[in-house]
Amino acid sequence: MIGGGINGLTCAAYLAKAGFKPLVLEATDRIGGGACTAEIAPGFRAPILAHSTGPLRHDVIDDLQLRSHGLTFLPSEVSVTSLAIDGRSLVIHEEVNQTAAALREWSPRDAEQWPRFVSTLASLARVIGTLYSVTPAPIDDASGRDLWALLRTLRAFRALDQADAYRLLRWGPMAVADLVGESFENERLRAVVAADGIFGTRFGPWSAGSGLVLLLRAANEALGPARSWVARGGPGAIAIALESVIRKHGGEVQTGKRVAQVMVRDQRARGVVLVDGTEIAAATVVSGVDPKQTLLSLCDAADLGPEFLWRMRNYRTFGTVAKLNLALSSLPTFPGVDRESLTGRMRIAPDVDYLERAFDHSKYGRYSPAPYIEFTVPSLLDDSLIAGGGHVLSAYVQFAPYQLRNTNWDDAADGFARMAIDTLEQYAPGLRGLIVAQQVITPLDLERTYGFTGGHIFHGELALDQMLTMRPLLGWGQYRTPVRDLYLGGSGTHPGTGLTGGSGANAAREIIRQLR
C-alpha cells in the first residue's frame, strides 16, 4: 500500500481484517496524510491539514471497530458560524429547528425555508449516497452485480417525489449561487451555504457545476458523524486508530519509506522500489496517493499506452486551498460570537459576490486579497491538543491558486500569511497580538511535502466529468489501472471527496474479490 493517508489505511485495514497481509509505506515520518495532528510550537498540537474530516463514514467506523481502537468524537452543537465584522454573526446549528429559530431575525421566509431545504438536501443526498458504497459500473460491460447496484439507486431516485427528482437533475449542473438564490433571500445565509459548493475546487459560486459539489458533500454528511464533530486528539487520531486495526490483524505500517517506482514485470505489478533502492515484492500494489502521481511518476509511461497517458495528463488537479495554523497564547475574542459557537466551524463568507471575487483573482494567477476562510479552534473541545495554556486555530484559506503569475509560492508565502491574518484580525481584533507561532502551508507545500499533485486536497477536481465511473478517468473508475495488480484506492477514485475512507473501503472490496 503506497501512502498512509486515511483512504490508504482504511483500504489496508479492510485487507488485513480479511486475512491478507498488507504493508503500508508512508513517505513522511507521520501517517494520516491529510489527517494528521502535530506540534506547531512546543505545547501546541494542531490539525496540520484537514481540521474537519470527510466525515469518516459510519460503516467504516463500525466495520473496523475504530471506537474500540481508541477513536472518540467530540460533538459540537454548532455546525457553522458566518462571522460578521459588525458582530452580527449568523449561526447554523446541527439541530434544524434551532437554526430556523436563529434565522428568524434575519429573514422569516428563510427561517421557514430552512427545514425544507435541509430535508430536501438530505433526501437527494440519500440517492447519491447509494452510489458511494458501490464500485461504479463500467459503461461497456456492466455485470449483473453492477446493474443490481444501479437498480438500488434507480429505486431510490424513483422514491423521490417528482419535484425532488427534478431538483437532483437540475442542482447538479447548476451554479451553487443559483441554487442558494432559489432557496433563500438572505445574502449571508446564501453565502455560508454556497461555500460548501466551492471548497477545495476551482469553482466560484457562479461556476456551473458547483451545485454538484454541494450535493456530494451533503451525501457525505449523511453517511458519517456531523462535520463539526472532531476526533479527540485531532484528525491524526483517526489514522492512529486505523493503524492499530491494521497491526491487530497482522498488517504492517512503516513511515519514512518513500516509494520511487512500482515494479512492473510483463504488465503486472510485482512490488515497489523505495528511493533508497530497497525492493519490496507484493502480490498486489495499491496506491493511496493521487492518480497522477501514481501513474505518471511511479509508473513507466511505456506500461500505460499513449491514449491513457494523454487522458491522465489532462486529469485536472489544480489546487486552490492553503492552510494557516496558529498557536495562540489565549482565546481571541470574536465580537458577537459566544464560546459555544466557537466550538463549531467559523466562516468568513459575508456574501456570494465576496466568494466570487475571491475566486476571480485565482483565474489570473493571484491569491485573493480578501479570501474565503473556514477555521476552527479545536483546542476548545479537545484540551489534549494543548500542553500548557493557550489555543490553536486552524484555517483553510481560499483562493490560493497552485500556479501564481510572476512569482512563486516560496516568495509569496509570507505575504500570503500576513494577508490571511489581517483578514482574521478584522473579525477578531487583537488576534495578531496573541500569536505565539504560525505555520502556513501553500498549495506548493501540499504537493512537495504531502504529495498532493497540483496541491489539490481532493486528489483531483470534483467536476462532473471526473466523478463516479469517470473518476479518475472514464473506463478506469473501478480502482484498476492499465497495469495488472496495480490498484488505486485514494481520494482520486470514486467516491473521493476527501477523508471519508469511502474510496479505500471500495478499493479493498475490489482487491479482495480479485485476490480470492
Binding site: 461497456d140 427534478y166 437540475r170 451554479a175 456551473a208 487522458r311 489532462n314 466529468d465 472514464l474
Partner: protein, 525 residues
C-alpha cells in the same frame, strides 16, 4: 371563422410550425405583433439604403430536413458562405482560420506546430460528437421521472448509441456535456488565442464565462451547424436573415396558412382549463382548436395567461427559468471598410467573421465585469460585414457591419440601459478601434441594441437571444420547465414551439417542427 391552430409569434420557429401544420392540411393562423415577420431573424432597413439583419445575423443551424420539406430555396432562400474567422491579437499578430482545412493548419502551425496536428484530431472528434448529438435535436425529450415506455425507449436508444461510440468519443461526449470550453480545449491546444477564439462560441447566449463548466456543450451546439450537409460552415442569407423567415412564411402561405402582422395577442383564451383561442389587444377574439405559442414561457404563462389557472409548482418553474440576457448588438452603417492593424487592407479576411477574442484572460475579464452588473468595458465581439458578400444590403461603396457583443447584462447594477446605451455603444467602438483604428472615421450611422431594447422590440424576455439560457439545467428534458419539456403545457390544447423548448435557440427551426409533429399526433384535424 374557426381555425385548427393559432400560432402566437411570427418568428422562424412559429412560421416553421405553421408551415408543417398547414402542409398537413390544417387551417393555421399566425399572429405577429410587429409589422415584419421573423422575430429575431429579421431584416430591416434601419437607415435609408442600409439593410440590417437586426438581431440574428448568421445561418447554419437551420435543419436540412426543414429546408427540404419546405423547399425553402424555391421560396427565395439563398445561403452565401461566410468564410473563416479572423482574430486580431493584442501583440499585432492575428489568427485567421478559414474553411480550407490545409490553409488553416498552416496558419495554426505559425502559432504552434503541435496545435496544427491537434486541430486535425479535434475536427474529427467534433464531427463524431455532432453525429451523436444531431438525432437528439429531432427528438421529443423523454420524462426521466415517469415510467412512460416511449420515453424510456428513447433514453435507451440514446444509451445504445452512446455505447456504440468508440471509447474516446464517449469520453469526449461526456466532457462536452460537463466541462468548460477552456478545460475542454486545453486538452488539445496550447495556443492561447486559438483557445480563446474557439471557446467564444461556448458562451454565446449564456451568462457564463469560458471557464464555466457547461460551456463546452454550447461549443457543440454551435458546431452542429458546421456538420450539417457537406460540412457547411456558417453562412449569410442573401437579403439578411429576414429572407429566411420570409421564405418559411412563403412556404407556409403556399400550404394555405394565414399570416397576420401587427396583430398583437393580449390574452390566451381558455374554456374549462382548455385553450380555446386568443384575444388581440384590439379586442378581437379568434377561436381555434389549438393554440401554439412561439414566444417565451414568461410571456406565454405569466402575461397571456392568468398564472392562477396554472399549477403552483409549474408557475414556480416558469419564474425560475433563467433568461439573463447577456449580449447586445451594434449595427453600423459604414462609408468604408475597417482597416485592421494586424492585417491591413480590404483583404478576404473581412468577408468572414471577425472575432474580438484575443486571449482567454480577455474573455474572462469581459465576463467579470458582467458578473457584478456592468457591461464589459472591453467586450467579446463577433463581427460580420454582410455587404461584402451580398451588395444588395447597402448602397454602392457603402457597407453594413453587424457586431454581436457580449457581455451586456440585462440587470445593471448602476443606472438603466436607457442611460447607459450610448456609453455601451462607445465601449464597443473603442474595443474595435484597438484593432482597427480607422473605424471611428468611417461610421455613418450606428444602432445600439441593449438587452432591454431586444426585450422591448422583439419580445425576448430579458433580451436573451435563445429565449432562455442554454445551461445544462435548462436543456433537453429540463427545457423550459422540468416535466414540461414535450411542447405540451398544463393547459390542454396549448403548446409551445419556440426556442425556449428543446433543442433551443439559433435559427434552427427544430423546436417549431418538433412541436408541429406533436400537435399533429395528438390533435386530429
Amino acid at each position: 371563422m374557426r381555425y385548427d391552430a393559432i400560432i402566437i409569434g411570427g418568428g422562424h420557429n412559429g412560421l416553421t410550425c405553421a408551415a408543417y401544420l398547414a402542409r398537413a392540411g390544417r387551417k393555421v393562423l399566425v399572429l405577429e405583433r410587429r409589422h415584419v415577420l421573423g422575430g429575431a431573424a429579421v431584416t430591416e432597413e434601419v437607415f435609408p439604403g442600409f439593410k440590417f439583419s437586426v438581431c440574428s445575423y448568421v445561418v447554419s443551424l437551420l435543419r436540412p430536413e426543414i429546408i427540404r420539406d419546405l423547399d425553402l430555396p424555391a421560396h427565395g432562400m439563398e445561403l452565401l458562405p461566410l468564410d473563416g474567422t479572423f482574430t486580431p491579437m493584442a501583440n499585432g499578430d492575428y489568427l485567421w482560420r478559414v474553411n480550407d482545412h490545409y490553409k488553416t493548419r498552416r496558419e495554426i502551425a505559425r502559432h504552434s506546430r503541435l496545435d496544427a496536428e491537434a486541430y486535425e484530431e479535434y475536427g474529427k472528434a467534433m464531427i463524431e460528437m455532432g453525429r451523436f448529438a444531431k438525432p437528439i435535436l429531432a427528438l421529443t425529450p423523454p420524462d426521466p421521472t415517469s415510467l412512460d415506455p416511449r420515453g424510456l425507449l428513447d433514453l435507451l436508444a440514446i444509451g445504445k448509441r452512446f455505447r456504440a461510440m468508440r471509447p474516446h468519443d464517449r469520453i469526449n461526449q461526456v466532457q462536452l456535456l460537463t466541462m468548460s470550453a477552456v478545460d475542454f480545449l486545453d486538452q488539445w491546444f496550447e495556443t492561447d488565442v486559438l483557445k480563446a477564439t474557439m471557446s467564444a462560441s461556448g458562451i454565446i447566449g449564456t451568462f457564463l464565462g469560458v471557464r464555466s463548466p457547461g460551456t463546452a456543450y454550447v461549443l457543440l451546439h454551435h458546431y452542429m451547424g458546421e456538420i450539417d450537409g457537406s460540412f457547411r460552415s456558417w453562412g449569410l442569407a442573401r437579403g439578411g436573415t429576414g429572407a429566411v423567415s420570409n421564405a418559411i412564411a412563403a412556404a407556409a402561405r403556399g400550404f394555405g396558412a394565414e399570416i397576420r402582422t401587427e396583430a398583437p395577442v393580449a390574452q390566451i383564451l381558455t374554456k374549462s382549463g382548455r385553450a380555446s383561442g386568443v384575444a388581440l389587444t384590439n379586442g378581437d377574439e379568434i377561436r381555434a382548436e389549438v393554440v401554439i405559442s412561439s414566444v417565451d414561457p414568461h410571456l406565454t404563462f405569466l402575461r397571456f395567461l392568468d398564472p392562477r389557472q396554472l399549477p403552483d409548482d409549474f408557475v414556480e418553474g416558469v419564474r425560475r427559468y433563467k433568461f439573463r440576457g447577456s449580449s447586445g448588438k451594434v449595427n453600423l452603417a459604414l462609408d468604408g471598410l475597417p482597416d485592421f492593424t494586424a492585417l491591413p487592407g480590404a483583404g478576404p479576411h473581412l468577408r468572414g467573421a471577425m472575432s474580438i477574442s484575443p486571449s482567454i484572460d480577455y474573455m474572462e475579464q469581459a465576463y467579470d465585469d458582467a458578473k457584478y452588473g456592468a457591461f464589459s468595458q472591453r467586450p467579446y465581439m463577433d463581427i460580420v460585414i454582410p455587404s461584402l458578400t451580398d451588395p444588395s444590403v447597402a448602397p454602392p461603396g457603402k457597407h453594413v457591419m453587424s457586431c454581436f457583443v457580449q457581455y451586456a447584462p440585462y440587470h445593471l447594477k448602476e443606472g438603466t440601459w436607457d442611460e447607459q446605451r450610448e456609453a455601451f455603444g462607445d465601449a464597443v467602438i473603442n474595443a474595435i478601434a484597438e484593432y482597427a483604428p480607422n473605424i471611428k472615421n468611417i461610421i455613418r450611422h450606428r444602432q445600439v441594441l441593449t438587452p432591454l431594447d431586444i426585450e422591448r422590440e422583439f419580445g425576448l424576455t430579458e433580451g436573451n437571444i435563445f429565449q432562455g439560457e442554454l445551461t445544462l439545467e435548462q436543456l433537453f428534458f429540463l427545457r423550459p420547465v422540468p416535466g414540461w419539456a414535450q411542447y405540451a403545457t398544463p393547459v390542454d390544447r396549448l403548446y409551445l414551439c419556440g426556442s425556449a423548448t428543446h433543442p433551443g435557440g439559433g435559427i434552427m427551426g427544430a423546436p417549431g417542427k418538433n412541436a408541429a409533429m406533436r400537435v399533429l399526433k395528438e390533435v386530429k384535424g
